[in-house]
Symmetry: C2
């Protein structure tokens, strides 16, 4: 059994690769909820949706988020009505948000709702929010503390980052299904997917119970770096690292996850950093981490799992 922790788009790709190898019984998928927010009364879970749409094969590859063949008639009319236009909601995508919000209001937990939506989309694997508690990422900046979606979408990641706060994380209860997975004698490896370390993975690691279980792990934990040649494949990870005073690359990612991982997978373009990773006490693997096709996703997943077996 494998437990994988994932954020948005990059994480979703590796999850898809892992799901193409592991049966539903063999893969526990824990997804970040730190960038969940309520917009116009709708509960929006961007990372759960990214993983869900990806596993359902409904994701838009070009735009990188949301559903393929999306239309925008809702947004056009919302703008005409003077509504907020900074957060784009596609017509199809809206159904997910409205159905999720409706099921939550009826008393279902986020994990139950995610199961219902996933099953409706024919997804065999179970996708789980890391917690049913609310965790809200705030970006600390020179402008003050900014709610994550304001920073990410409205301000287009422009403000310089000074730090982060994960409201509710410390006291959040790790999802029992994930906790059981981490405690299971069947567990063979933990994978930290190539998602933004600060805003996709850290909100999960800020859950005391998850951090404690990772620190006391009996199986290898492998992180896959989202950085290639000093740049994030997508999103502000590299910009954030620079602003926080580190040099975007395998060494800094290794330092970031220190004590929590045993191995680091990074792109072969950065293979000259293997020594630095090793000297930091980790086992490194330089391989192709760019996932531009189903095959790329599957091959990377296979390489990561082989690597975990080797480390164990």
């Amino acid at each position: 059994m494998i437990l994988a922790l994932a954020g948005g788009v990059g994480g979703a790709k590796l999850i898809k690769g892992l799901a193409s190898i592991c049966s539903p019984d063999e893969l526990i998928i824990g997804v970040n909820v730190g960038d969940d927010f309520v917009h116009m009364g709708l509960h929006i879970s961007p990372d759960l949706d990214s993983v869900m749409y990806k596993l359902a094969g409904l994701n838009d590859r070009e735009r990188g988020w949301g559903l393929a063949n999306e239309t925008w008639h809702f947004m056009e009319n919302l703008k005409r009505l003077g509504g907020p236009s900074w957060f784009n909601l596609g017509d199809q995508d809206l159904a997910t948000h409205i159905q999720r919000t409706s099921l939550l209001k009826a008393g279902n937990s986020l994990s139950m709702v995610t199961n219902q939506l996933s099953q409706a989309l024919g997804i065999a694997h179970q996708i789980s929010p890391i917690s049913n508690f609310r965790i809200s990422t705030f970006v600390e900046s020179a402008l003050g503390e900014i709610p994550f979606q304001d920073y990410f979408v409205r301000l287009q990641c422009e403000p310089e980052v000074l730090g982060f706060r994960y409201e509710g994380a410390e006291d959040a209860e790790l999802l029992p299904y994930i906790e059981q997975g981490l405690l299971s004698s069947q567990l063979r490896a933990i994978i930290i997917c190539p998602s933004n370390p600060f805003v996709s993975i850290q909100p999960m690691l800020a859950i005391s119970e998850l951090k404690r279980l990772l620190l006391n792990r009996l199986v290898p934990c492998i992180a896959v770096s989202p950085i290639v040649r000093g740049k994030a494949i997508k999103g502000p990870a590299a910009k954030m690292m620079l602003e926080l005073g580190s040099n975007p690359g395998p060494e800094a990612i290794a330092a970031h996850y220190k004590g929590l991982i045993d191995g680091l997978v990074f792109d072969k373009a950065d293979k000259q950093e293997l020594d630095k990773v090793s000297s930091g006490g980790l086992v490194g693997l330089a391989t192709n981490t760019l996932m531009n096709s189903d095959t790329d996703e599957k091959v990377l997943a296979e390489n990561v799992l082989d690597f975990a077996v080797r480390i164990a």
Copy 2:
């Protein structure tokens, strides 16, 4: 100054005609809220929307409700997700419901929200909910009491009607703007638009204060019948009248509004009923009530206003 009470589509047409004659200062528009309901967390006001879309020139003439050039991608995905499919929500229309719900949650009253939405759509005339209080129409039937939208949309008006209940109406506060209009020395006439007497007009008349002010009116009140040749132009009005034991036509409409109106406008196809209406103590006017064009709407509005002047 004219005060017009309207429900959905038929009422909206006459409102459009009146608005083409009367300036915004000369026309007070009171709209039924008895079929408002909350669906999937969204506050839906079908009659306010019908009047608003009509006055904005955005209504769909063929379908008879909602917006022209509507698309249905939200509904398609909602069905795929296992969400409720009995109530159709168009992609553009959703923006109205979500923006309204969002503004209501922010503490605005329904009348304030309606003003905001109307202004955003460039509507010069003020459209007012008859009350900011919640009024909910229930249909009493052999199947028991049915919430209005369940009866109207889900059950397609099939159950036999035994009566109606207008929850919250008796204690609802008439919108102050409408109350002021009714008490104004400038008021020249009250028009009851050709809307369903039971589910569009009666939920308003069930407001104690409105009924009291209508009973004590100092200006003529004119109703326009929604029935032509024993049939409703649209919707279940005639079916309801039959089930409640009356014969759909001018005489029964006159009896229904007894004491509240001074004149009844009905279609020229039913002009042989003029004597029956007169013998009931009302002044009748048989004219064309079918509104298939902007011109029809304007001509009927002119005829109704002339009739009111004549009666006064």
